[in-house]
């Protein structure tokens, strides 16, 4: 039995800032994981990744990351993606800092 497909989001880093970004259903990039497109079909995920990688001039290192549906959009399932979503634990830097300044 093939393993069941785990839903994914497409994530990358912004070319200029290096900041963690996510691909939306509208083919744009957002800094909020909650605004990312949650892809539930494996074949669709590969096609969407190809679509995302076409924007090479804006992004670096796109890949598919495991995610799950949450009440406010996609959420990480692994601690690595949780750290990417928030920022480092030793300083209030990264996204946690950026969001506090909004």
């Amino acid at each position: 039995m093939p393993r069941a497909f785990t839903p994914k989001v497409i994530t990358a880093n912004d070319l200029l800032e290096g900041d963690v970004i996510y691909f939306t259903a509208q083919d744009t990039w957002t800094r909020e994981l909650s605004e990312a497109e949650l892809i539930t079909d494996e074949a669709e995920a590969q096609l969407r990744l190809i679509e995302a990688e076409k924007q090479n001039i804006k992004i670096v290192g796109a890949y598919l990351a495991d995610a799950k549906a949450g009440p406010n959009g996609p959420e990480p399932t692994h601690f690595r993606e949780e750290f990417r979503r928030t920022g480092p634990s030793n300083y209030f830097h990264g996204k946690q800092e950026a969001e506090a300044n909004v």
């Binding site: 690595r80 750290f83 480092p88």
Partner: protein, 554 residues
Amino acid sequence: MYKYNEFDEAFLAERNAQFRAQVERRIDGSLTEDEFKPLRLMNGVYLQLHAYMLRVAIPYGTLNSGQMRTLALLAEKWDKGYGHFTTRQNIQYNWPRLRDLPDMLDALGEVGLHAIQTSGNTIRNTTADHFAGAAADELTDPRPYAELIRQWSTDHPEFQFLGRKFKIAITGSGSDRAVIKAHDVGLQVVEQDGKTGFKVIVGGGLGRTPMIGQVLREFLPQADLLPYLESVLTVYNVLGRRDNKYKARIKITVSENGIDTYRAMTEEAFMAIRGQYDGTDQELLEEIKTHFAAPEFRSGSTEAFDAAYANDPVFRAWADTNLHPHRKGDHAIVTISVKAHGATPGDATGEQMRVMADLGEQYAYDELRISHQQNVILPHVHKNDLPAIHAKLKQHGLATANVGLISDIIACPGMDYCALATARSIPVAQEIATRFDELKMEHDIGHLQIKISGCINACGHHHVGHIGILGLDRAGVENYQITLGGDATETAAIGTRTGPGFAYDEIVPAVERIVEVYMAQRESAEETFLETYRRIGMEPFKAALYPEAQKKVA
């Protein structure tokens, strides 16, 4: 210390201009990321978890106050106000933007610093004993040789695309403070029949296959250093595996082929290469040596030091812990701990860097060092200046008296920053340091080195920690393996794993239990943790760490 000449300055300016153009071409789309990545890596630019990271070389860990101020400038102008000193005598900036990187490199270039070969499959920053030129036990200052290696290896066409990165370390003392046995090539300056040369050690390294280096040559004459190194690298370049990047290090090459075969091939290559060196390198070496002449040490009484030592217990604790014997009796080597309890190991703010630069300029003949243990050194300080230095350090959170103690932890950036990491290192280090500070035990515990890595690549040197901690991902949860008995010195050893790993919230209590065993079992306060471990072995520690397993055995 070495000062760039016109050739060096022009080379660096041209190199930086090339990189500026490459960045522009990446931004306008002329270069793809696949094309750009090797170019940025050649200039020390990584992409990490949250941002780009710039790794700057501090050659053999030596810098002057002007250079330290520039490091502070980079932190404050283009980053978030701090930098991170690493185990390879580099500094890393964790938050630069792509457009700013060329300006950062230009600023570095103006003071003779660069980021060349701080990444990529090439010869990396040659590291050295951080007490070089100052230590009482030193035979010869190794830094001129390190500078010669730097000039030889920079942009060396044969060694820009090696199978993997290649690390060289050098010491001029019998006491190994440069971890030479855990490098691809370790060099120890030695004398034979009144002549200076090197003991050459190859095939050491940590990572997923930790190995202690083996002696390739007991004595290599000084004049043969570059042709011999070139021979070692040439054999590695030919013989080293490229089918599997995890097996592409010289330690694997030496291990698979045997040290005798490696030695024979190196000697054969050496015979062919030696004649190509016409002595120009030795003329250059003599010129380089003039840059490393000892400062004119001032003399005078040490009354102020003696009085502070006798009357101020806080100063005395700091002096007992953070000073090291200098080759001149009325001087001392000062290690400034950038490991305040609960702080990130190796991080210094721009302000702290400027304070240390000022102290270096005022009291240390304009010299500072970065240690592989992620601290900053004032290598030459007259003892009478120590009370003033201590007072200044206290004002800026830099007077923690913990060098060599349990809170003087080496920790890699781990998953808080590093794209390769599998677990966090920094918060584990912070919690251990905080816990033992609260217990007020660390001076009683004495010399004990904890080293933490956030992945199998072992940037935190966990294999050679007295207590080593390796963070892993076990089924989506952070898990920490412990090793005991590692040693980073001239008696180098790889630590032994205790058993199953511990969850994140279990690792600090586990370290406490290890320390409790040591405190209960040591024969006296003078017997160090490592000595006790070597005397009593692993079992008492395992019994404390895994009491349930002991019950089952019973």
